[in-house]
C-alpha cells in the first residue's frame, strides 16, 4: 500500500526516502523553491520551500516525508514569509530586471511574480562586485548571485571540475571562481558543463546569446513558475 501524507488538505503519495518537496512536485503540487533542484542534493539556503509540518516551520527540501504528516504550504502566512525572503534576495543584489538578459527566464523573478511581490520593500544594498568577462564564451555577473550553490554543486558533483565555490562569511559571502587568478578564463569550464546550465538567475551567462527569445515566448511569459513542475515532467 502506498504511504501518504497530507499537504494543504490533500493526500500526497510518497516513496520511502523522498522529501516533502520531492513528493509534492511529483504529485503536481508546487512548493516555491530556488536552491532546490531535482538532480542535486538539497542545500537549504533559500528557505523558500519552508512549510509547516505538524505546526512547526521546516524546509521541505530536507524534511523526509512520513505517513500521516500534516503539512501546510500554500497559506497566506507562509507565502507572506516567502515574499519577504524574495524581497531580501532582491535588495541584497543588483536585480535590474529591465536590462538583464535572464529576464523572463529567471526563477527568482518568476517566484517573485508568483508571490505577488510589488516592491522590494527594504533598502537596497547596491553591492559592487566586478563582472568577470575574462572567458571568451561566458560572462559572470556576481551582483545577481543568490548563493543557491547550484553551480558549485553541479561543477563539483557532475562536471568533476569544482570551478565555483562560495567564499567568506555573512553578507560578504559570495561566489568565487576556483583559479589562482580568480578569473573564469583560467579554469577548464566549458559551455556544455552542467554548472553553466543550472544557474537559476542571471549570474552565469553565455556571451552574445542574450535577448534571443521574443518577449511573450520566454519561459515564464505564458505560464507562471507554478505551472512548471520539474519533477512532475520526469515522472
Amino acid at each position: 500500500m502506498t504511504q501518504t501524507f497530507i499537504l494543504d488538505g490533500r493526500e500526497i503519495p510518497f516513496e520511502p526516502g523522498q522529501t516533502i518537496i520531492q513528493a509534492a512536485l511529483a504529485a503536481g503540487v508546487f512548493i516555491p523553491h530556488l536552491c532546490y533542484h531535482p538532480e542535486f542534493k538539497p542545500h537549504g539556503s533559500c528557505k523558500l520551500c519552508t512549510v509547516k509540518v505538524n505546526g512547526r516551520h521546516t524546509a521541505s527540501c530536507t524534511y523526509k516525508a512520513a505517513p500521516g504528516l500534516e503539512v501546510q504550504s500554500n497559506t497566506e502566512e507562509l507565502n507572506g514569509e516567502r515574499r519577504t525572503l524574495v524581497q531580501m534576495l532582491f535588495v541584497e543584489g543588483n536585480h535590474f530586471c529591465p536590462s538583464c538578459e535572464k529576464s523572463g527566464d529567471c526563477q527568482l523573478q518568476a517566484t517573485a511574480y508568483e508571490l505577488g511581490m510589488m516592491s522590494p520593500h527594504f533598502d537596497h544594498f547596491f553591492p559592487d562586485r566586478p563582472v568577470d568577462a575574462s572567458h571568451p564564451e561566458l560572462l559572470l555577473d556576481f551582483n545577481r548571485c543568490i548563493l543557491c550553490s547550484l553551480c558549485v554543486r553541479a561543477s563539483r558533483d557532475v562536471d568533476g571540475k569544482s570551478v565555483f565555490a562560495l567564499a567568506e562569511r555573512g553578507i560578504d559571502s559570495h561566489l568565487i571562481v576556483n583559479a589562482a587568478s580568480g578569473r573564469l578564463a583560467d579554469t577548464n569550464v566549458a559551455l556544455e558543463d552542467k554548472a553553466v546550465q543550472v544557474c537559476p538567475v542571471g549570474v552565469i551567462l553565455r556571451k552574445r546569446k542574450g535577448f534571443a527569445v521574443p518577449i511573450g515566448q520566454r519561459t515564464y511569459d505564458e505560464a507562471p513558475i507554478s505551472g512548471h513542475l520539474p519533477l512532475a515532467e520526469e515522472c
Binding site: 535590474f96 517573485a112 511581490m117 510589488m118 533598502d123 559592487d128
Partner: protein, 183 residues
C-alpha cells in the same frame, strides 16, 4: 439626491529621475483616458500646466531620486497627496539609473563634462540654478512612505489601469500573472 455632483478625485503626476516612459505607458490606456477624466481631475502633471502640486487624492511618481530637486518635489507630493504611488522600476528600486551607484559621482561628472573626446573647454556645470546630483540614486520609498507600488519598466497600460480602477472603486489594488512584471 442626484443634485449633488459627484466630486472628482484629484490626481497629480510627476517624473523625477525617470525617462517619461511610465507616463507614456499611462497614456497607453488609450481611449480609457476618456473614462478616466470622467472620474478624476489632473492637478500638477507633465500633462497639465500647473506648476505646484495642490491637495490631491492620488500622487503618481515616476523615476527614482538622483538630485536635490527630485527630493524637494517628492516631499511636496507626499505632503499634498493622500495616496502616493511609485510607478515603474525607477521609483520602486532606483531602476537602471541606479547602475551608477557603484561609480564615484566625481568620476561620472568629469568623464561626461571634462574628459570625453570632442569637448572644447569642458567644465562641470556649477550654476546654483542647477540641482546638485545625489551621490547615489535612491528608490523613493527610502525618503517618503509609499502606499502603492506598480513595478515594470514600464508597467503596462493595462497594469496602470487595473491599479487605478481598483483604487477608484475602493478595492485593494492587485496585479496577477502577466500584469506584474519588472522588465
Amino acid at each position: 439626491m442626484e443634485v449633488l455632483e459627484k466630486k472628482k478625485l484629484k490626481v497629480a503626476t510627476t517624473s523625477l529621475a525617470g525617462c517619461f516612459g511610465c507616463h507614456m505607458s499611462f497614456l497607453d490606456i488609450d481611449e480609457r483616458l476618456f473614462d478616466l477624466v470622467q472620474l478624476v481631475e489632473f492637478d500638477r502633471s507633465p500633462l497639465t500646466d500647473i506648476k505646484e502640486v495642490g491637495e490631491c487624492d492620488i500622487g503618481i511618481i515616476e523615476g527614482g531620486l538622483c538630485n536635490a530637486e527630485n527630493v524637494h518635489v517628492l516631499l511636496e507630493f507626499r505632503r499634498q497627496c493622500k495616496i502616493l504611488i511609485a510607478l515603474g522600476a525607477c521609483a520602486v528600486n532606483g531602476g537602471l539609473p541606479a547602475q551608477r551607484n557603484h561609480l564615484p559621482l566625481t568620476d561620472i561628472l568629469s568623464e561626461v563634462y571634462l574628459s570625453s573626446p570632442g569637448l572644447g573647454n569642458g567644465m562641470i556645470p556649477n550654476d546654483p540654478e542647477l540641482p546638485l546630483p545625489l551621490n547615489q540614486v535612491h528608490p523613493i520609498h527610502e525618503v517618503v512612505k509609499v502606499d502603492i507600488f506598480i513595478p515594470g519598466c514600464p508597467p503596462s497600460g493595462d497594469a496602470i489601469w487595473k491599479v487605478l480602477t481598483d483604487l477608484l472603486s475602493g478595492r485593494n489594488p492587485s496585479l496577477g500573472h502577466g500584469l506584474i512584471h519588472y522588465d
